[in-house]
């Protein structure tokens, strides 16, 4: 119950420092934020300034860049879809039910967020690798996951899925239970309640979580290079191509880095825009 109270309304309240006149407060805070904002901004600006558009177009056509780009798009899409499909039931379970071990599952979801990706890579390797506890049985059936795009997707799901699940849990908790319950009283089945009531009410949070998962998967490096290896066109995603390319061809690395930066920025901006519209829409309907 208390979780619900925290999850919803507070966000929209004024966040100004008390006691200061509004305008002055904002100016002081802007000034105080400048070092942080500049620190985050400067390296990105430097990166964009280093890549000339002509070079970028030229490099875009190079097979290494195109392959890495294509592979990153397909694997992150697969990882995000898999995460949403497998993560929604978990989110419903955590948001709607008390059960023994709930705290454990919840903590387990936090773990990949703090774990160094290299740990994830080694763990995946000794689980799904050819000699791993699961992998050896797969291997007998003639399936090897390591060094394949499937391994790339698994590494991405491992490190990125918690973003979606955690976001989905908070979204589900924010949905008014009374609305759900009255629908249920009116004879709706649990699935119907979920489809007609719960999901329409919390989809912005779900979308936000899915995008965070996608963005994290897009940047995944450590687990991938250990578990999936580095093979252009097969397992070399953009972050790997950037890392390897940095040594030989700075231009390729810079082009990929700029693309990654641009794509992430645009997608995050779009999703934030959509979410804001949606929230305003909901608010005006409630008013």
């Amino acid at each position: 119950m208390t979780e619900r109270a925290i999850a919803r309304p507070r966000v929209r309240e004024s966040a100004y420092a008390p006691g200061l006149p509004r305008k002055r407060g904002a100016a002081v805070l802007m000034l105080a934020s400048a070092p942080m904002v500049l620190f985050l901004l400067l390296p990105l600006v430097a990166l964009v300034l280093r890549v000339s558009p002509a070079h970028m177009l030229e490099n875009l056509a190079s097979p290494q860049v195109a392959q890495a780009l294509g592979l990153s798009i397909t694997t992150t899409a697969a990882a995000t879809v898999l995460t949403v499909l497998a993560g929604l039931p978990t989110a419903f379970l955590l948001a709607r039910h008390e059960f023994p071990g709930r705290g454990l599952v919840s903590t387990l979801l936090d773990l990949p967020l703090v774990l160094p990706p290299a740990v994830a890579g080694i763990a995946l390797l000794i689980t799904f690798g050819r000699a791993g506890i699961v992998g050896q049985h797969l291997s007998q059936a003639g399936i090897q996951l390591t060094f394949t795009p499937v391994a790339v997707v698994l590494a991405q799901v491992f490190v990125a899925s918690p973003f979606f699940v955690k976001s989905a849990v908070s979204g589900l908790l924010a949905v008014d239970r009374e609305v759900e319950q009255s629908a249920s009283v009116d004879g709706a089945s649990p699935l119907q309640v979920a489809r007609m009531i719960t999901l329409p009410l919390c989809w912005p949070t779900l979308l936000g979580g899915a995008v965070m998962t996608w963005a994290r998967a897009l940047g995944e490096f450590g687990a991938t290079i250990i578990f999936a290896g580095n093979m252009p066109g097969r397992t070399q995603t953009m972050p790997l191509a950037i890392y390897i390319g940095f040594e030989m061809n700075l231009n390729v690395a810079l082009t990929l880095a700029a693309i990654l930066l641009g794509a992430s920025f645009v997608v995050l901006l779009l999703v934030k825009g959509v979410l804001q519209l949606r929230i305003r829409d909901l608010d005006s309907r409630l008013a």
Binding site: L31, L125, G129, R130, A131, F147, I226, A228, I244
Partner: protein, 277 residues
């Protein structure tokens, strides 16, 4: 308001300029730290050498940065605070010379290494000889061509093509499942049985690994001799000590440690080449 903005800017400028002083380097204190950037394949040998050097120089601590030589060279070029660079090939040392961090003419070759093919003891690829690397379906792990071990491996494959027929190199490269960022990663993945075989340095196969790894020797006429140069770096905070470390690596003690870890020293190399030719 203006004043405050100015003060904040000044503070920022001060912070930014402060970044150029090498923080974190214990140059003033009596306890001196020497930063040695060394090729990943040198890990075990140099750790032993480092311990020996520390024993002879009380108060000196050696901190190693082991990685693919190409990555170390990049870091050095970008101004990493290092005192000594030990590379697994001369190409990366030349790059360090070009960047101005190594004085021309100072690098000295301190060790040599040969390539071998390794495979897991269980031999999942059923390899029996070098020819089998070209068999369809064999899963081969290599160091990336940017890594010294990777470029040496490509050189070996080109030489082998002359012996095993055209297409050998292409077929073998068609079997590569991954290009690793340093040669140690190749050893680990073959050891774990993920790949059927890998091409690494002879020195990479340690005593402990022999239980899990098997080796196919590469004949001398096809093999590539990796030459390891070492040099002190311009901009080192302890140039004298850095030179002493280089001398120690070249001394009988240092050379003995390298031999113990499977490297060839200068004298050995000449003998073996004569045998091979």
């Amino acid at each position: 308001m203006r004043l405050r903005a100015l003060a904040a800017l000044l503070l920022l400028a001060q912070l930014l300029s402060g970044c150029s002083t090498p923080w974190g380097r214990a140059s003033a204190s009596r306890n001196v730290t020497l930063y040695v950037f060394a090729a990943a394949s040198l890990t075990d040998a140099f750790q032993q050498i480092g311990r020996g050097f520390e024993e002879q120089h009380p108060g000196v601590r050696i901190v190693f940065n082991f990685a693919g030589s190409q990555r170390l060279e990049q870091q050095i070029e970008q101004g990493a605070g290092a005192d000594v660079f030990a590379s697994a090939d001369e190409r990366q040392m030349r790059a360090a010379v070009r960047s101005g961090r190594v004085k021309p003419g100072t690098p000295r070759v301190f060790a040599r290494n040969r390539l071998v093919v390794i495979y897991p003891r269980s031999n999942p690829g059923r390899l029996r000889g070098l020819r089998d690397l070209a068999r369809p379906g064999a899963k081969l792990d290599l160091a990336a061509r940017e890594v010294p071990a990777g470029s040496y491996a490509l050189e070996f494959l080109s030489r082998a093509t002359r012996q095993y027929g055209t297409g050998y190199r292409t077929k073998v490269l068609g079997n590569v499942v991954s290009y690793e960022d340093d040669v140690e990663a190749v050893v680990r993945k073959v050891e774990l049985g993920e790949a059927d075989a890998g091409i690494v340095y002879e020195s990479d196969v340690r005593q402990g690994d022999r239980q899990r790894l098997r080796v196919i020797e590469i004949p001398a006429d096809l093999n590539v001799l990796a030459r390891y140069p070492i040099a002190t770096l311009e901009g080192s905070a302890h140039p004298g000590l850095a030179r002493e470390f280089v001398e120690f690596v070249l001394s009988p003690d240092g050379q003995k440690a390298l031999r113990q870890h499977g490297f060839l020293t200068a004298a050995q190399q000449q003998k073996r080449t004569r045998e091979g030719r």
